[in-house]
């Protein structure tokens, strides 16, 4: 692929920064700050797609769409939602300190697995080289952190952020595994979950109005 050394280093750096923003968006209890951290991640991902576009210009279209949907629309939706909500999320199942330990372990394990068994996991030869290999590792980590957020946060609002992280992880893997294929742009655009996030927030807002809370521990009307 025709990437300069600088572009490859920038891709690696921004990619690794996605881990920090994922962790921040999940564990930050202040809802506004968590949203801002998510917004930073959306910008980072848009920048990574743009950097890949230096060798495959069609990717600029996806970068533009990602900027509008992931950064502008979803950030606006999240900020609109938290108006009138308490400043802090409902206390999580797993607090900050244990989360640091768990997430650090997750990152180390996934990074090691992806680098040690890269030939087992990489669908293309390109994916075994840097920075693509690191990107695949990061995409798995971001995806896993999204799941971690959904499973360990009690506040329904945080599940919406978790969903965004899942999608960002999948999109990072897409742009890293197949940056040069023309179908990648279309896939990136059509698999955007902005509508899903909007609907989820709409239903959570309804829950807040009807049940008076966004605490998923209080969603006990329906039992197995």
């Amino acid at each position: 692929m025709g990437y300069s050394e600088t572009v490859l280093k920038l891709i690696s750096s921004f990619s690794l920064a996605l881990i920090i923003t994922s962790f921040g968006a999940v564990v930050t209890r202040n809802l506004r700050y968590a949203t801002y951290i998510y917004a930073v991640q959306a910008l980072l991902l848009t920048t990574i797609i743009s950097l890949f576009a230096t060798a495959s210009p069609t990717l600029f279209l996806w970068a533009a769409v990602a900027f509008i949907t992931k950064f502008l629309i979803i950030t606006w939706l999240l900020l609109s939602f938290i108006k009138g909500m308490p400043e802090y999320e409902v206390k999580a199942i797993i607090g900050f300190a244990p989360s640091v330990v768990i997430v650090t372990l997750l990152v180390i394990i996934l990074y090691e697995i992806t680098h040690k068994y890269v030939h087992f996991l990489a669908p293309t030869t390109l994916a075994t080289e840097e920075p693509f290999r690191t990107n695949v590792a990061v995409s798995l980590i971001v995806f896993t952190l999204g799941l971690y957020g959904i499973l360990t946060r009690r506040d329904a609002f945080k599940t919406a952020i978790g969903l965004c992280l899942l999608e960002n992880g999948a999109h990072l893997s897409l742009v890293s595994l197949a940056p040069g294929l023309r179908e990648t742009v279309i896939i990136g655009i059509v698999t955007d979950v902005v509508l899903g996030v909007y609907l989820l927030l709409f239903i959570i807002r309804g829950l807040r109005e009807v049940a008076g809370t966004t605490d998923t521990y209080h969603l006990t009307e329906l039992h197995w």
């Binding site: 996991l121 669908p123 293309t124 329904a156 978790g162 179908e183 509508l195 899903g196 989820l200 969603l219």
Partner: protein, 497 residues
């Protein structure tokens, strides 16, 4: 004038959409919404007949460079979706005006909400038709996700605490689950693209040609991701927690669509994606078999302890989907034949049972088994039809469910999976127990309240679909050869071990 394949397939998928828009725009009208919905859901059924004819004649039909492709397998699902969709729309038009919501919010708001309901109903139908007509692995994911988005507000339609809770779980769990499939699709796309010289690396037909060149580890990883993703959509245990809540809390016509066809669409996606790997990697079927058995048993056991009729039927769906997956997992001609037969018998029986429960709710506003009893005296037609559905579900002759389950049992015996045969028979006994016990408790015995003494049959527009499904359940049990040409062709196409 001869209609091209492209026009036919496009019309099939897009036909409900103008009606969906019209219903939305005319949502204040008291008289136009229901007729437009019924017409909008009838057109796909009418179009699916010539499509089926062409598929039977030509093997498959395709359009736009194979982006859209309908073969025998798609045809089975198309028929199911359009058939159930049409009759669910007939069932809905009286049923939806009965709910306390209508009385609670006032006529004007209720009319507007019903307009949105019917508009989403048609959109939901269109997304399901799209899901089974695409030949593109990513568009399949998009269409499956679209079915979730289209139906999430339908599940939450009553907008009370229970409905919102169900809607939240439904949307979150399905979107999270299906994202796993997106990961799987991305990996397969990236892995197969270097080997596909001509044509799109996203088309199933092209990926299938190069699948043997992809490393086994990548296939394994993708198979796991697809199984989790589309398995969640299909309601296979242990990915099923969204299902009982959504199916129980949604308005009954939507429960019919969810249990009758939407979970089957998830299974279709699973079969399409795992079907890519089966010829070269038959071990993939074993995973499906394990999940299928777990689903069959767990669904049946949980159905036994339910007191809410709709939740009982929802858990029953988890179990019955397990039967279908089991046939696919067995992987022989007879296994596939039984699976497709079971699919059709389940669509009929489960839609029928949900509509019968809907008739009870319409008449009595009750659905808890413990609060019901002696309903049969006042609603004999509903009772007879409920028993037909319950017996078919349990595999009692001469109904469709008997032959489909018998085919599956013979398929397991053929491959000497005796443990599976025993578990299948055990699940059938459990099904017989919970389905017949529910039917007996609800329709026989003492009337438990004054409300039941006042009960009467639901109006004809609600009974008509119930009768149609009952008759078909009987007819397909007595004359199984009606389905043979289609099921045989679909089974011959399926990837064998």
């Amino acid at each position: 004038m001869v209609c091209t394949n492209a026009n036919l397939i496009l019309m099939l998928i897009l036909a409900p959409l103008p009606f969906s828009l019209a219903v939305l725009l005319l949502r204040r009208s008291e008289i136009l919404k229901e007729p437009l919905t019924i017409i909008g859901s009838f057109i796909p059924l009418a179009i699916s007949v010539p499509i089926l004819q062409r598929v039977m004649d030509e093997g498959y039909i395709s359009a736009f460079g194979n982006e859209l492709l309908i073969d025998h397998l798609s045809a089975i699902f198309l028929l199911g979706i359009s058939f159930v969709g049409f009759f669910a729309s007939i069932f809905a038009h009286r049923y939806m005006r009965q709910h306390p919501l209508i009385a609670r919010v006032g006529v004007e708001i209720a009319e507007r909400r019903l307009g949105i309901f019917y508009s989403l109903f048609l959109f939901f139908l269109s997304t399901m038709l799209w899901s089974v007509s695409t030949n593109n692995i990513i568009i399949l994911w998009v269409a499956i996700e679209a079915t979730t988005i289209a139906s999430a507000l339908l599940v939450s339609f009553y907008w009370d605490r229970r409905a919102l809770e169900a809607g939240y779980k439904y949307l979150l769990l399905l979107t999270v689950g299906v994202t796993f499939s997106l990961f799987g699709a991305v990996i397969i796309y990236a892995a197969s693209a270097p080997y596909i010289a001509h044509g799109s690396p996203l088309l199933f037909t092209n990926i299938k040609e190069v699948i043997s060149k992809i490393p086994a580890s990548i296939i394994l990883l993708s198979a796991v991701l697809f199984t989790v993703g589309f398995g969640t959509k299909a309601g296979l245990a242990p990915f099923h927690p969204w299902l009982p809540d959504a199916h129980a809390e949604a308005p009954t016509p939507i429960s019919v669509l969810l249990s009758g066809i939407m979970v089957e669409v998830g299974l279709y996606a699973l079969l399409r994606t795992l079907g890519l790997f089966l010829p070269a990697y038959p071990a993939v079927a074993s995973t499906l078999l394990v999940l299928a058995v777990f689903s069959m048993l767990l669904g049946a056991l949980l159905a036994m302890v339910q007191s809410d009729l709709k939740r009982l039927l929802a858990y029953s769906s988890v179990s019955q989907i397990g039967y279908i997956a089991m046939g696919l997992g067995v992987g022989t001609y007879l296994g596939y034949y039984g699976a497709f037969y079971q699919l059709i018998s389940h669509i009929l029986a489960k839609s029928l049972l949900f509509m019968c429960v809907g008739a009870i709710i319409y008449s009595l506003a009750l659905r808890n088994i413990e609060e019901l009893g002696g309903v049969g005296k006042h609603m004999p037609i509903t009772m007879a039809c409920f028993f037909i559905g319950a017996f078919s579900l349990s595999g009692i002759p001469p109904l469709a469910g008997f032959l489909s389950k018998l085919t599956l049992i013979i398929a397991t015996a053929q491959v000497h999976l005796w443990w599976l045969l025993i578990l299948t028979l055990l699940t059938s006994l459990l099904t017989l127990f919970y389905a017949v016990r529910a039917a007996y408790t609800v329709f026989w015995g003492e009337e438990k309240s004054e409300v039941i003494k006042e009960a009467k049959e639901a109006p004809m527009s609600i009974l008509f679909p119930i009768l149609v499904f009952s008759i078909l359940t009987f007819v397909l049990g007595v004359y199984p050869q009606i389905l043979y040409p289609l099921l045989n062709s679909a089974s011959l196409l399926a990837p064998f071990k």
